[in-house]
Point group: C2
Chain length 251, copies 2
Amino acid sequence: MKRIDSIKNEQVKTWKKLHTRKGREKAGKFLVEGFHLVEEALKAPIHVEAVIMTEETVLPSAWSLSDHEIILVSEQVMKDISETETPQGIAAVCDLPAPPIVDVLEGQYLLIDRVQDPGNVGTMIRTADSAGMTGVVMGEGCVDIFNSKVIRASQGSIFHLPVIKGNLLTWIERFKEESIPVFGTALEGASSYSAIEPQRKFALIMGNEGEGVSEDLLAVCDQNIYIPIFGQAESLNVAVAAGILLYYLRG
Amino acid sequence: MKRIDSIKNEQVKTWKKLHTRKGREKAGKFLVEGFHLVEEALKAPIHVEAVIMTEETVLPSAWSLSDHEIILVSEQVMKDISETETPQGIAAVCDLPAPPIVDVLEGQYLLIDRVQDPGNVGTMIRTADSAGMTGVVMGEGCVDIFNSKVIRASQGSIFHLPVIKGNLLTWIERFKEESIPVFGTALEGASSYSAIEPQRKFALIMGNEGEGVSEDLLAVCDQNIYIPIFGQAESLNVAVAAGILLYYLRG
């Protein structure tokens, strides 16, 4: 079993490069951390190149690692490659999956327009998974799906449903061609969501935290909707709003 | 106008003590940061002791600060007292408000049981405000309301509705005495929320991220409810779940 004690080891340096989008795309790999996420990665149809652990790490007995390289590292190395405050002593290096291919468009989709906060994006993917969405489409200008904070906030849901990067205008056209109604979210020129009936098929677009959904997308949606504010808050958090709308629309 | 350039100044040290719950309770004060939150504090029925700004800070013309002490600080001091990565150059020292008094119990309440993450608690207060709740009750074991991350995630909603610290068992009894139905959230022995009708009056309890609502609270609720998971996620984020339930129950 390979063993790495020094943070100056070349392998450690390559792992740390996976903390940036550029590093991940160059290497074609990403890192996951913590028992729950490593387990999700092992169950997912992706290639897990290596499992990284310390001598103190106690592996769950249900895990079968016979097909995977295991690398033992010192506590110091684990801390160095970790992006959490209290590392659990377990991580995995995975191959970036091939982009999901969606041939036949049906079902229910969440579209995300320029949402930057990784916690919000991860939570929206987790919420879309919970609400039984068919897939998520991430438009240009969103935070990277394989950012460690996105993966963590998604609680592994990035492994459960297709999360597709794409141009949202193109995707809206595809939905409309298949007669799938596309709902934008906007404060002006929009109807209260409760005026809409739940839908068997739909695409819902959630937008940037400050600016909302882009005007050019709103202009081509079938209908734009909003969530009424009954108190004095200015708005809802985007992931909370996504939860309210997805659970309402799916019926 | 008072001016502080050095981070070694005694005043700066007293401000930094407000970053902890203990420090806030001892001083009877708390700090808010950023234009939006300082503005909310100035509009709120609380005493703003001083507004802290740098020479570069451009105050919105609508602000009336004639009744408030203004303290100019160096960029370095602002950075030192700030708990955000990119300080906006504006902060305020406020007196901790007296605990809100709720004599007559009516309306719609969110109760929070041992939620630890400040982002989740702040987002739940913001969501309760958006959904027009009458108040929020924070049980023992929750993160402190005046934690800067809670205030930030609440986006100022902590100033918009009564947020009361209290013993949740006692509060559940009070609600039941007034014939206000109390809903716990639980996975077992619970009904899907959609089986319940929206309610003119209610109290909804959301629980700790990992453990949910305590058994002793669930045992005395009128009814326990859950949100169905239609995909492969294990659960929803607690603030997202609060949003779905509050908007559904208020009707």
